[in-house]
C-alpha cells in the first residue's frame, strides 16, 4: 500500500505554498509604485547616478512653501487628532457597550458615514463652519483636527470596538464600582488598560490618515504636508524632493504602525483554538 504520509503536513504545505504566492504577488503589486517613488527620490542630477540629496533637502527646502513647516504641522495635527479622537471615542464606545447597547447600530452607522461621504461634499458644507472657526478661534491649520477626527471615525471606531471585544466590560466595571471607583477611574484605569491593542491600532490608523490627507486641507485653504507636497510638485523642477518627502511620510507611518503592533498585549481571543481553520 502506497504510504500517504503526513496528510496534514501535505495540506499545510499546500496552504503555505498558497500563502507564499499570495504574499509575493500582492507584495510586488503594492511595492512597485512605492519602489518607483523611492528610486526617483534617490536619483542624482546626472542620469544614472544616485544621491541622497533629495532626502537631505526635506529639511532645507525653503519653498515656497517650506517643506519642513508642512511636516511639522501635519505631525502636530496627527497628535492632536489622536488625542481628541480617543477622548471622544473611548468613553463613548465603553459607555455604549455598558449601558446603551441598543445604540450600537446607530453609532456604527455614524462612524461609517465619513468613509462614504465624498470629501468634496463635506468641504462644501464645512466651509461656513470653518469660517466661524477662523473668526472665533484661530487661523492656524491645526484647526483641521475638528474634521480629521470625523474622517478617522470609520477606522478608529472599528479598531476600538475590536479591542473591546474580549473584555468583559460589565463585570470589570461592576467590580471596580463596588470597590468605590468613579466612572472616570473605571474607564481610565480598569477598562482602557485591557484594550490597549485596540487603542494603539486606533491611534495609528488615525495617524496614517492625517499624514495622507490632502483634499480637505487644500480646499479649505490650509497648508499641511500633502498640500505642501502638491505645491512643491507644481513649483519646482526638482521632483526628487517631492518623492523623498512622500516616501518618507509613507515609511514613517508604516514603521510606526508596525512597531506599535508589537507594543501592547495582543488582545487574546478567549475562545479555544479560534485561529482560522486551515
Amino acid at each position: 500500500m502506497a504510504a500517504v504520509r503526513g496528510l496534514h503536513a501535505r495540506r499545510q504545505r499546500r496552504l503555505n505554498g498558497f500563502r507564499y504566492v499570495v504574499f509575493t504577488v500582492f507584495g510586488l503589486f503594492f511595492l512597485l509604485p512605492l519602489l518607483a517613488m523611492l528610486r526617483f527620490s534617490l536619483e542624482g542630477s546626472t542620469g544614472g547616478s544616485w544621491s541622497l540629496s533629495a532626502w537631505g533637502q526635506i529639511a532645507s527646502y525653503a519653498g515656497p512653501p517650506p517643506l519642513l513647516s508642512g511636516v511639522e504641522i501635519t505631525l502636530e495635527l496627527a497628535v492632536i487628532t489622536c488625542v481628541v479622537m480617543l477622548v471622544l471615542l473611548v468613553p463613548t464606545v465603553i459607555w455604549v457597550r455598558l449601558r446603551v447597547r441598543w445604540m450600537t447600530r446607530l453609532i456604527e452607522a455614524l462612524c461609517l458615514l465619513p468613509l462614504t461621504i465624498p470629501a468634496i461634499v463635506l468641504v462644501v458644507g464645512l466651509a461656513p463652519i470653518y469660517r466661524v472657526i477662523r473668526q472665533q478661534f484661530s487661523l492656524s491649520a491645526l484647526q483641521l483636527f475638528w474634521v480629521y477626527v470625523i474622517l478617522a471615525l470609520p477606522y478608529a471606531y472599528r479598531a476600538l470596538a475590536a479591542g473591546l471585544e474580549g473584555v468583559d466590560v460589565k463585570t470589570l466595571s461592576e467590580a471596580a464600582r463596588s470597590l468605590g471607583a468613579n466612572w472616570f477611574t473605571v474607564i481610565w484605569r480598569v477598562i482602557v488598560p485591557n484594550m490597549r491593542q485596540g487603542v494603539l491600532n486606533a491611534m495609528l490608523l488615525t495617524g496614517a490618515l492625517v499624514l495622507g490627507e490632502f483634499t480637505i486641507a487644500y480646499l479649505l485653504l490650509y497648508t499641511n504636508l500633502q498640500v505642501t507636497l502638491f505645491a512643491v510638485s507644481r513649483g519646482t523642477p526638482n521632483a526628487g524632493v517631492l518623492f523623498s518627502t512622500a516616501s518618507a511620510a509613507l515609511l514613517f507611518a508604516f514603521v510606526l504602525l508596525l512597531i506599535l503592533s508589537y507594543v501592547g498585549r495582543r488582545s487574546g481571543r478567549q475562545s479555544e483554538r479560534s485561529k482560522v481553520s486551515k
Partner: protein
C-alpha cells in the same frame, strides 16, 4: 436624597445621554455640513426654494457622471473585494502573532489612506511613459483601466481592513466538525465557510463601492479646479465627463451622491447584523 422619592425618569432611560458628546460632535462636523449641502442644493439664487436644480441630475452630462462613476466604482469594488478577500484569508490563516500579519496589516492601514496626489504620481512613474522601471503601459491613460488600477490599489487594503475580522471569526471547530462529519474542503466552503462569510463579504463590497464613489468625486473636482503637472491626461479625460459650472450644480451632484451612499449604507448595516452575530 430623600428616602422614598422616585425619580421622574429612571437612570437607565437617561443613560443614552452619555453619548451626547459624541453625537454632538458628529452632529456639528458631519451631519451639519451634509445638511448644509443638501439645503443649498434646493436653494435658488434668489433665496427661495428651487427644486429645479435637482433636474440637472438627469441631464446628460451629470447623468453620465453618475453612470461612469458607478461603473468604475462597481468594477473596482468587486475586483478589489475578491482580491482583498484572498489576501485577507492568506493573512488570517497564518500565525496571529507573526511578522507577515503585522506587515500586511500595517501596510493596509497606510495604503488605505494613500490618496490622490502621491498615488497618482507613484503610478505614473511606475507605468507611465516616463517610467524609470520600464513598465510602460500604453493603456494607462484609457478610462477606466488606468484609473481603475489606481482605485484597486487602495480598495484592496481597505478590503483587508474591513474583511479580516470576519475571516478571523471563522472558528477552527467549524472546519474540524465538517471534516469529521465527512466533508471535503470544497464542501466546507460551500456549506459552512461561504455562507458564514457571505454577509460580511457583501457588506464589504458595499463599503468599497461607497468609498470608491466618494473618491471619484474628489478626483473629478480636482481636475476641474486645478491642473496638475503629472496626471494631466487622466484629468482631461475625466473633466470632459462633467461640467461643473455652478456651485449649485455641485451641490446637486453632492445630493445625488448622498442619496446613493445612503442606499448603500442601509444595505451594509442590514448585512452587518447577521455577520456580527455569527462571527463574534
Amino acid at each position: 436624597m430623600q428616602a422614598g422619592r422616585r425619580p421622574l425618569v429612571s437612570r437607565s432611560q437617561l443613560a443614552w445621554t452619555g453619548t451626547l458628546p459624541f453625537l454632538g460632535y458628529v452632529g456639528v462636523f458631519l451631519l451639519l455640513p451634509t445638511g448644509i449641502v443638501l439645503w443649498d442644493a434646493v436653494q435658488s439664487s434668489s433665496g427661495g426654494f428651487d427644486f429645479g436644480a435637482i433636474s440637472t441630475l438627469w441631464s446628460s452630462s451629470t447623468g453620465s457622471f453618475f453612470v461612469n462613476s458607478a461603473e468604475l466604482s462597481a468594477i473596482t469594488s468587486v475586483i478589489g473585494a475578491l482580491l482583498g478577500a484572498v489576501l485577507a484569508y492568506a493573512v488570517a490563516s497564518g500565525n496571529p502573532d507573526g511578522l507577515i500579519r503585522r506587515l500586511y496589516l500595517a501596510g493596509s492601514g497606510v495604503l488605505a489612506q494613500f490618496g490622490g496626489v502621491t498615488l497618482a504620481f507613484a503610478f505614473l512613474i511606475t507605468i507611465g511613459p516616463t517610467s524609470g522601471l520600464l513598465l510602460h503601459a500604453g493603456w494607462f491613460y484609457d478610462f477606466p483601466q488606468g484609473i481603475g488600477l489606481i482605485y484597486i490599489y487602495f480598495q484592496i487594503p481597505l478590503m483587508v481592513l474591513v474583511f479580516l475580522p470576519a475571516v478571523d471569526g471563522l472558528k477552527a471547530q467549524w472546519r474540524e466538525a465538517t471534516e469529521t462529519l465527512g466533508g471535503s474542503a470544497w464542501q466546507f466552503w460551500r456549506y459552512v465557510g461561504g455562507p458564514l462569510l457571505a454577509p460580511a463579504f457583501l457588506g464589504a463590497i458595499l463599503l468599497l463601492f461607497a468609498n470608491a464613489l466618494s473618491a471619484y468625486a474628489t478626483i473629478v473636482a480636482w481636475e476641474n479646479q486645478i491642473s496638475y503637472v503629472v496626471p494631466q491626461q487622466i484629468g482631461t479625460a475625466l473633466s470632459s465627463e462633467v461640467g461643473l459650472s455652478s456651485v449649485n450644480q455641485a451641490d446637486v451632484l453632492a445630493l445625488g451622491m448622498i442619496v446613493l451612499v445612503a442606499i448603500v449604507m442601509t444595505g451594509y448595516t442590514l448585512l452587518q447584523r447577521r455577520t456580527t452575530r455569527w462571527l463574534r
